[in-house]
């Protein structure tokens, strides 16, 4: 410890947090005040980082899972010397365009590891980070990859169900370099947590394979000793730190009033006097700031030593490491996919798109065997996203590149975010499309953060068949397309499946959902020179003559559209088929491109075994829609398509009705 004592350093956090929330008249002072001791011990004694190089790959990760306590993080960034995080930014807390939004946004503010706020996400994302560290260390060695993942979590983080999925995975995988500081302050928004909770978290974590203990979270020596023990554990560790929310505020400390609103001028003044902090807003004593800045730069030497070790790695391995961290795909990928598409022309693949996807995955995994990181929420054999060469990841086999996530869709999606954010891998995770509902909060964060993850979502319609309406997505395509920055692809055959996979892997600024069928489909594409899926839609079958109708369809229903087009042609009615692998990507095209694809045939029909919601943007209010108007049912797929009237005949009749 420096000559400036711990308490004055912790109080600097408390003072800044109180002042910023007060100025914004909005925010959460209680957590930063209570957790300031934990944060001070961690950042001054343990956290390996260099404030001058926030993107140092081997830095320790610090995830503020309790994102509402964002002023803790902003204060730390300022105090430790993050160049962008000026005092002025703290004064602009929660104002438009500042680096200090209400909850931490990693895509917006450097030095922040992940976006938090929706509770449970931070701790679950951190599991992915710790997992990536373990895998990358096994591959590149401890000299290059050897860091901890620290999490500061709140009561709410641990009440959220996703935390159970996350801690079960971390315990199973023995992610011993993951250390969770639990801000056990016993207070949530509604009051004492005792009104809604009586879980013994230490026992719960132990039941899940963690080391866990309870300490006084305002006692710096106790915190320091506990982290030291945690670092030596062969299990992930929970340190339940009993703290006082709003520590130092004479009337509000220890109550819900300190949680989510400004303290008010009087209480703030009294708290500062109580703690011995200057009443001057946003002031930090010079010696305290200097001590903090020293903490922020103490990792510089370690970083330089690491740079030296990286240099010794050999130019090829170093280039690979750096390419991987940039999420840049190997040059071989594009070539391999191109060759695969050509093969398909010669030897068509008539198969479910989940099976076509499996074939594409073989090609991809061969091109990028160590970074293509697949996994499934216990549906491996159904999702078909495991390459033959991939072995299962486990604590003992960290070079395995297939992850059995268990029946944990939400935890899987959150972990994937962490894996991507950590860097080094192109993660994809699989389940049935209908279960994106379980993963949605983490998927939304991926879209918000611009995380380039891929969701392999099979059994994408009533074509799933006998499992019935609980397992049949009908609204999910629409609900996913509605998320900003989410890309949804629904390929119609093996060629489109390869193209959509390539687009998905090359999309490193946002997530992609690949929705795939359970049932077999013909190969419809006859040319593979371009990748027309990049426009969201394209003319698959041209009209013979001036088109009287355009049939739009996606995925398994393109086959139906093609059949209808043929039947119409036989009746002398020219029509065209537009395959729409990505409806929202079509709508995002420049107006001229979009209009050219949609065309101006007088009758527009959309065919999709899902709800209409969203399709009016293409077919118009008076367009014909052949799809679902309710939940599905349990029966063989063919019976269901007939029962719900999603047939070529229905499409033909819809056109005939309008043409005549």
């Amino acid at each position: 410890m420096t000559q400036v004592d711990h308490t004055r350093m912790a109080n600097a956090i408390r003072g800044l947090a109180m002042d910023a929330v007060e100025k914004a008249k909005s925010g959460h002072p209680g957590l930063p005040m209570g957790a300031a001791d934990m944060a001070t011990v961690l950042f001054t004694q343990f956290l390996k980082f260099d404030a001058a190089a926030t993107d140092w790959p081997d830095r320790d990760r610090f995830v503020l899972s309790a994102g509402h306590g964002s002023m803790l993080l902003y204060s730390l960034l300022y105090l430790t010397g993050n160049a962008a995080m000026t005092l002025d930014q703290l004064k602009q807390f929660r104002q438009l365009g500042s680096l200090t939004p209400g909850h931490p946004e990693n895509f917006h503010t450097k030095g922040i590891e992940t976006t938090t706020g929706p509770l449970g996400q931070g701790i679950s994302t951190a599991v992915g980070m710790a997992l990536a560290e373990k895998m990358l260390a096994a591959e590149f060695g401890k000299k290059i990859v050897d860091h901890h993942t620290y999490v500061l979590a709140s009561d709410g983080d641990l009440m959220e169900g996703v935390s159970q999925e996350a801690i079960a995975m971390a315990g199973h995988w023995k992610l011993n370099k993951m250390i969770v500081l639990y801000d056990d302050n016993g207070i949530s928004i509604d009051g004492p947590t005792s009104i809604s909770d009586s879980v013994d978290q230490v026992k719960r974590f132990k039941a899940c394979g963690w080391a866990a203990e309870k300490i006084d979270g305002q006692d710096q020596a106790a915190i320091s000793a506990a982290i030291t023990r945690a670092q030596k554990s062969n299990k992930p560790t929970l340190i339940a730190c009993r703290t006082t929310i709003g520590y130092g505020a004479p009337h509000k400390a220890g109550t819900a009033k300190a949680h989510g609103e400004a303290l008010g001028a009087d209480e703030l003044k009294a708290a500062k006097e109580n703690l011995g902090i200057s009443l001057e807003p946003f002031s930090v004593p010079d010696d305290v700031l200097k001590a903090w800045r020293a903490a922020g730069s103490r990792g510089a030497t370690a970083r330089q030593e690491w740079e030296a070790r990286l240099g010794e790695l050999g130019s090829r391995k170093r280039a690979e490491f750096e390419r991987r961290l940039r999420h840049e795909r190997p040059a071989s990928l594009a070539k391999a996919v191109k060759a695969f598409k050509k093969e398909l022309l010669e030897k068509p693949l008539v198969a479910a798109t989940r099976k076509s996807s499996e074939a594409v995955i073989e090609v991809i995994a061969a091109a990028m065997p160590m970074e293509f990181l697949a996994g499934s929420a216990d549906l491996t054999g159904s999702n078909n996203n495991k390459a033959k060469s991939a072995t299962a990841f486990s604590a003992k086999t960290p070079k395995g590149r297939f992850i059995h996530y268990g029946i944990r869709e939400h935890g899987m999606a959150a972990a994937m975010n962490g894996i991507f954010l950590h860097g080094g891998f192109a993660p994809n995770g699989a389940t049935f499309l209908v279960f994106t509902d379980y993963a949605r909060p983490a998927m939304r964060l991926a879209a918000l953060m611009g995380a380039g993850v891929v969701y392999v979502m099979t059994h994408d319609s009533i074509g799933l068949g006998e499992d019935g309406p609980t397992h049949q997505p009908v609204e999910h395509l629409s609900a996913l397309r509605a998320i900003p920055n989410m890309r949804v692809f629904r390929p119609c055959d093996s060629v489109e499946t390869a193209e959509c996979w390539e687009l998905a892997l090359n999309r490193i600024d946002g997530p992609t959902v690949l929705t795939l069928t359970r049932q077999n489909l013909p190969q419809l594409r006859t040319s593979v020179n371009e990748n027309p899926c990049q426009y969201g839609a394209y003319e698959l079958v041209a009209a013979q003559g001036e088109a009287k109708a355009t049939l739009f369809a996606s995925g398994s229903e393109v086959e139906i559209a093609v059949a209808a087009q043929k039947q119409l042609a036989e009746r002398g009615i020219p029509s065209r088929v537009v395959s729409v692998p990505s409806l929202e990507l079509l709508l995002a095209q420049p107006e001229a491109k979009r209009a050219a694809i949609i065309g101006n045939a007088p009758v527009k029909v959309a065919i999709e075994a899902a709800v209409r919601w969203g399709w009016d943007a293409v077919i118009g209010q008076d367009g014909e829609f052949i799809g679902m108007h309710s939940f599905g049912a349990s029966a063989p797929a063919k019976d269901l398509y007939k029962h719900f009237g999603i047939t070529a005949e229905a499409a033909v009749n819809a056109v005939l009705k309008r043409v005549s």
Copy 2:
């Protein structure tokens, strides 16, 4: 026990399950075969039910959380004498229109308590059932309400995060009449659960306030003894029953191969020989069937005694009990809401709709104080759905009618399903709209089952302000509207809030989302005779002259539409304002009604602080949309509306551009 021994009765389940899956060539034989002993002990020795009266209010509830094992349930229904569940229905397993769909559907097959299949839902719904039992027993007495809630859960149910939320609540509330039989077979689809899990479930449940023990799940005496102990516990109980999946199948038992597909003719034959079951498909020996039928009717006497006790309750209390179970609202409700609306005309309420909702709730709670059951996922003071008269529910205060669910949106929504299905209450639960993402799997089940629950979702747009994009819904209105049978209301003022609440409470065949603002809104309505929200939309402001434009808006943006209409009028451009409290309800109107509301003004503008997705169905592809095109940002609400261009000026300009 009858003279027919336990094993032969259990084997009847195994035989039927194997045969039905084999015939369907689809399904899950493994669970019914492994869990047959547990089910036989439960149904013959403990479960209080009368197969002839599946709607007996005081029956024990049995929830097959592991819904994929549906043949267990169908076999039990047939064997115990459920009249509709004939042998022929078992032969139609997983076929269109049969009573035996892939996963159990309570809305389709009598005798099934809730729809399961999406893992974790059953156990979490059961918490709501057990909660409702406790509350109703406290109100009407043990002579009328005194039953257990049994759950059969699988590994997957316990891996899902929602299970943690559910068991934490059940433990905290000391729902001692909830007993979970955990089918601890150590196998999931991907193989042994050891590849993805190492949680000690007994310890985990104990950490959450449960009694828990481990037994041999094929040992009838052990099962019987454990259930007896559980019934005496003052805590909910987990009985981890070690079983063998596919029990009896010589080669596939104990492996993932027994889980989710037909055994195949050879293995089926061998299994039957092994177990001593007739090779004749779907055959049950007469004496075994008779013993099962006796088990199914053994509760008849208890039911008759219960009927007698109900008769002794007094006509008024009995009528109240029966009305409550029918989900019929008291006659006073409509009157009270009508009076409240009239008061609003005299004394307008300028407030956030969450505050208007609070005022409406006072009126509702006065009309139905014991059945209006509100709760919040730890945002009570922000959601404003607690009536002043409501006290907190707890284990010691079971007459409390406000539930502090903790930070458990998913568990809350699932529990609400169980509360509704149990009967006796009109449950509503609250959080921020953005967190519907967390609750979505349970909300979808509510829509599928037709459960009349109400979600009070406040902070429904960027109007939430400083908390930023993680807390600002932009796609959620659209994503919820896309769910079949989900009703979404977004009232624009206090009058509409009252009207939407009334519609929501009267909707007992499906769920309703009320989305409410954080920010203040004016009162716009000037007449209250009708409830025009029932049509989804209506003309709020008529044009002075032939309308050149229609401005459609919902919720907080109706104020903006009204201001734009005024500005346009000042420029001599007649326009009308259509308030759209429910977009999907508008679209569901008969064509003439819908067309009349939408009108035929040449310019159509929609204003909603959310994504456009879905609005094209009203305004057309060439309609103008004033709303969100990205995620939000952290800033005061007023700054955000300006920043994202959701203003009256933008609406006026959109019209001017098109009119000129």
